[in-house]
Amino acid sequence: MNVEITELTRRFGRNQAVAGVNLQAGTGVYGLLGPNGAGKTTLLRMMATVIPPTSGRVRLLGRDPRAYGPRREVRRRLGYLPQNLGYYPGFTVVEFVEYFALLKEMPAARVPAAVATAVERVDLGGRAKAKLRTLSGGMLRRVGIAQAIVNEPELLLLDEPTAGLDPEQRVAFRALLRDLGQRATVVVSTHLVEDVGAACSEVALMDQGKIVFQGTPAELTARGTEQGTGDAPLERGYTAVLAAARS
């Protein structure tokens, strides 16, 4: 298992953002669904070793990230796309991706080929030398995805990766996710249930800091056959599980 989370909690003052989450994840694409404020981003930030848990246990790629050495090893093998990733406007696409490849301590000789591969995979080859200030929001999001995958991570954490992408780009991105999920653990936090249905092998639904459902997209869909509201079967499953959790 690349991700082993046991009774994980995180408090911000009086607010309990994550309240006793248990999660195991091996290779594959895992969708993290939930309403605003459910705790998805906080959970992802803890998995990205950006913030520590208040209590509970996290093991990533077989290591305990509390100690500096193992945390550094995890970070070398980690790809992370934050929800609100800012960009250096004076950098080009290649410079930005290269900068973070170097900060991930990739061997310098491997960096140019890795950067080219990542930039091509997000279909930004035609804008590789463009300054980030000249790119659209969707293109910037793809730059963020490129920096996340540049080191061919064993653990890839993506927070709202399809925000700002047009439908064509989202379809291409789902294909990329499925491909990455064959070799790595990919955790995708999203509001868009159709992304989960199309790309994820498993899904966890969070509400009020807790995981209230864990299973396959088909199992989530099945929960919505009798109740739940929404235009798509998966949406009905989503709303039905949330309603049951809150009742």
């Binding site: 520590p52 004076g90 290269e98 900068y99 140019p112 950067v115 080219a116």
Partner: protein, 253 residues
């Protein structure tokens, strides 16, 4: 690409054109690091830190804020106040400005930086060195230019030359040396905290040894009037250390 393309018909079936293109793209897009970046990479044992060092001035808004505060603190530190407090407080102010500018305050990619293998504190140390070193070079240039303009009937140029030289030689160059020392220690010890502690100790020794040379050391350490400012310095340094390395809503220690 179409299979009917005549130029591709002779391409062997086992050639992966995608990989070929990526290899070509890697060569075309490849950025050749300059001699300074290569040397910094070797000295710091990290191409990532070398890149951070060289890109520091190109992050314009953080650079401007950090430079303005550093120069203001330097102007205060080089005033002949007769007290060592100002000289001790100035680096804390400068460090706070650099930490804010290149930290969670303004750096748009700070959260991402916090998930990187290269320590964000090491990156901040490198940024501090870059801010002081480039401003020291600019200060040297300003001193030289204003010295060249001095002459009879130009008292303003002489005053400007004196002020630029005082800030450059009394503040920017010594602080560049302190930052370089801190970074060297941090690289050797593989710990940004150890490096920062060495830098603080180095500056304290520099300032207090100046008091020894002028025969005021005893007053500098026993004068009860100075205890409160010293306490303020200590609290400021601690606040800087915490702020420099925090991320909103907590982070790993």
């Amino acid at each position: 690409m179409s299979d009917n393309d005549p130029s591709l018909r002779e391409c062997p079936a086992d050639v992966d054109l995608g990989r070929v293109w990526t290899s070509v793209a890697a060569q075309v897009w490849r950025r050749q690091p300059g001699w300074l970046e290569r040397a910094a990479g070797r000295l710091l044992r990290s191409p990532g830190l070398a890149r951070a060092l060289l890109t520091t001035p190109s992050l314009l808004l953080p650079w401007l804020i950090a430079s303005i505060v550093v120069l203001a603190a330097g102007a205060g530190a080089t005033l002949d106040s007769g007290q060592p407090v100002v000289a001790l407080l100035a680096p804390a102010v400068a460090a706070a400005a650099i930490a804010y500018s290149y930290g969670p305050g303004i750096d748009p990619a700070w959260e991402l930086s916090c998930s990187m293998a290269v320590s964000d504190r090491m990156v901040l140390l490198v940024r501090a060195l870059a801010v002081f070193a480039v401003n020291a070079l600019l200060g040297l240039a300003a001193s030289a230019v204003s010295a060249g303009l001095t002459g009879p009937g130009r008292p303003g140029a002489a005053a400007a030359s004196g002020a630029a030289a005082a800030v450059t030689f009394g503040w920017l160059i010594p602080m560049t040396a302190v930052c370089a020392f801190a970074l060297a220690v941090a690289t050797l010890a593989r710990s940004a905290n150890v490096g920062a502690a060495a830098g603080v100790a180095g500056w304290l020794i520099t300032v207090l040894s100046g008091r020894v040379a002028s025969g005021h050391f005893g007053a500098a350490v026993t004068d009860t009037v100075l205890f409160l400012p010293y306490l303020a310095i200590g609290v400021t340094c601690a606040a800087v250390a915490v702020f420099a390395t925090r991320i909103p809503r907590g982070r790993y220690r």
